[in-house]
Amino acid sequence: MIVDTLLVRLGGESGIDNAISAGDVLTLSVARSGYHVHTFRTYPAEIKGGPVMFQLRAGVQPVPSLGDKLDVLLAFNEEAWQLHGEALRPDGVLIFDPGEHDAPREFGGTAYGVPLDRLSKDLNLRKGKNLIALGALSALFGFDFQPIQATVKDKFGRKRPEFVESNRIALMAGFEWAKENIQDEVPFRLAAPDSTHDPELVMSGNQAIVAGALAAGCRYFAGYPITPASDILEEMAKRLPPIGGASFQTEDEIAAIASVVGASIAGVKAMTATSGPGFSLMQEMLGLATMAEVPVVVVNSMRAGPSTGMPTKMEQADLNIALYGGHGEAPRIVLAARSVEDSFYQAMHAFYLSETFQMPVILLTDQSLSHRTATLPMPDPYRVPVVERLRPTAEDAGGYQRYRLTESGVSPMGIPGFDATPFTATGLEHDEYGAPNYTPAMHSAQLDKRGHKFERAAEVLCDLEYPLGCHAYGAPEAEAEVGVLAWGSTAGVVREAVEEMAAEGLPVAALVPAVINPLPAERIMEFAGHLRAIIVPEVNRTGQFAAWVKANTELHLISLNKYGGLPFTPAEIRAKVMEFLVAKPQEPAAELQPTEEVAHG
């Protein structure tokens, strides 16, 4: 059977089977062959030992989500079969190592035993199993051989040339063994790629954020390592110095955000990136940025919490702290990236908003998106304006008022070394010059100033267009009966489920805003229109986004929560939507779904 998408999962033991690096090589080479790809991976929190899995979904058309049941499972050991067997479709393909375990009896699909360990030992390759497996996969599914080899060379060629050769040998060994020993035709094969255009880019969500930030003019980064945000620090450390910027690993997250605030005071677009525990630590300094009106961008890549939680698993549970995390009334703009491509645009967007409104902007992503690699069309950086903060003019020179009470709430910001307008910024309440002032009138006025900026941001954000604004999928909204309202990385699964259902003629539409605060409430109300039910899927227990939308719209929403550290699958979204589609349209929504529903995951 020729299929449009193929979903392959590699499961093994961390530090032994190198399933992740095999997956990375496979991903890049499949993408270079012209397919669209979308990956998902989970690591243990241990460095070595513990189960890892890497999953690649390749398609002829764009693949917005991680997919549902696996087409192919490559199990390096028995535990991998036990962990992932259930995820394999009944008629799927299992590739296992007969040296590790027997073909599982209960499995009714096609099972191929490939003696990975033995072949690797025969070749005297200590870490060859993964490339042998790739070779076998290629032989079976007719993947092009060339790009795999080229990818290995690209990835390791400079640093470890001997590695390239041993990998080539391993690849060939797996390939040839499979050609010789497995004659059956595999049950499904991916259709040929669309060869009419160049291969797309292949990036991770975190790489896209870095590229977007650099495109927006970010030239200062400071951070402290933390999973799953560390690679933003690492990428910045690599990219910034050559283009004249600076990157800096600090002693902790407080120092990171503090130095970012300092760099911004000195006139540079600056950013930090962290995850939950570090984000909690940054709350005080974020309040200072709001109070002193300093533009800063903070990326928070969410992982399962609370506390240290599950550092290598995903969750969408840091929305509340992003919205409300600081003491006092300290508005912040909150964005959530929806895909790898969107990560690029939202990073640019974050700088646009932060410079325009002179306040902190928080960009949320999560473990699944940060570490997702996916194909994307070359982004167009001109789609997002690159702006600079408002600066003092000659008029301001005498008696410069840094915190002048303007109508928009935004006032010109002098930069040391560039503007002859010295002033002292402070976290204390202050008058228009910046001097401490505790009178009721001034406190109210400055609170209003900071609030108005934010409220004005809501207006600006109202008519955002693609790629920055709300994304809509599925049936035309006027015809839809059931809606799905999602945020962040859940966008992909929702898109896939809803588009598929709409293609089947089902009246389902979806809306996914990127700007979470200020929420595009009007657009959401418009979407809600005459929908019978609005489902809000999110990977958390209490429905943080649903509560936020309710607080802003008073809509009745149906929460679909999953909280096991893994993303939704399209099938889960579809199942929930179907509950409401099968119900008679006459019944009012409230009766269909009197209480909020929770699906454990």
Binding site: P199, E200, L201, V202, M203, Q207, A211, L214, A215, R219, Y220, A222, R239, P241, P242, I243, G244, G245, A246, S247, F248, T250, E251, I254, A255, A258, S259, V260, V261, G262, A263, S264, I265, A266, G267, V268, A270, M285, L288, A292, M378, P379, P381, G414, I415, P416, G417, F418, D419, A420, T421, P422, F423, T424, A425, T426, G427, L428, A435, P436
Partner: protein, 288 residues
Amino acid sequence: MAREAKTKPKLLPKDYKSKVKPTWCPGCGDFGVLASLYQAMARMELDPARTVVVSGIGCSSRLPFFVQTYGFQTAHGRVLPVAIGVKIANPALTVIAVGGDGDGFSIGGNHLAHAVRRNPDITYVVMDNEVYGLTKGQTSPTSPLGFKTKSTPYGSSDAPINPMAWALASGVSFAARGFSGDPKHLTDLIVAGVEHPGFAFIQAMSPCPTFYNTFDLWRPQIEALPEGYDPGDRMQALSQVFRDDGIPVGLFYRQERPTLDSHTRVTAHPLREETEDFDVQALLEMYR
């Protein structure tokens, strides 16, 4: 450290005075430190538009408001990482960090140790009054053992921190101690600190007459470092800071070593001015 072209009219100490009137108690030691800072700024002819005075929170951390340069009063204990951000972003600026013993050695102690080892070209003046002034007289990390305050009514049980030893152990490249009662000497130290290419730590003994009036206690103990003292010898500096008689003042230690910005940055230009044309498309192409 940025010097102005000599064509501009010479600035006097009073020209560095801002319109905001100091809110310190009469007799507060911090007045002496502020006076020294005005003097030092004038002597170096610092350009107010290219100078940033950064602080944390405390009585002493109010200082930036009183100086007619750029200033930033940050959060309690965070003066140094903010100052480092400013300096890396624009190495052409003169960055002076100020604060108190609570701000710098209690909540902010770690940032001091890490600033020191990175050696950014910043001068950090700590007004040490051995007490928390702004919060009304609690024990600070430099308060003497047994110190009775509202927060330690039975006497403090914590051995005080030795800030100079701390800085030296962390690898500071310039360490000096002055006394707010001797603003002339303190002025010299501040000038030397700002001119030192690297992190200059200056402990300015600055009594708090309201909550712990140490003027009379300290004055007789203040003395210069011994004759022939060599500020190039770290072990000698340590033996001076561990002395338990007297309060030696002066330049304890100086060493030149690469500064943070010389490492972190490829050029010494303000990041805003960096000319490298960045082509995001070229970067993106690398991911194909």
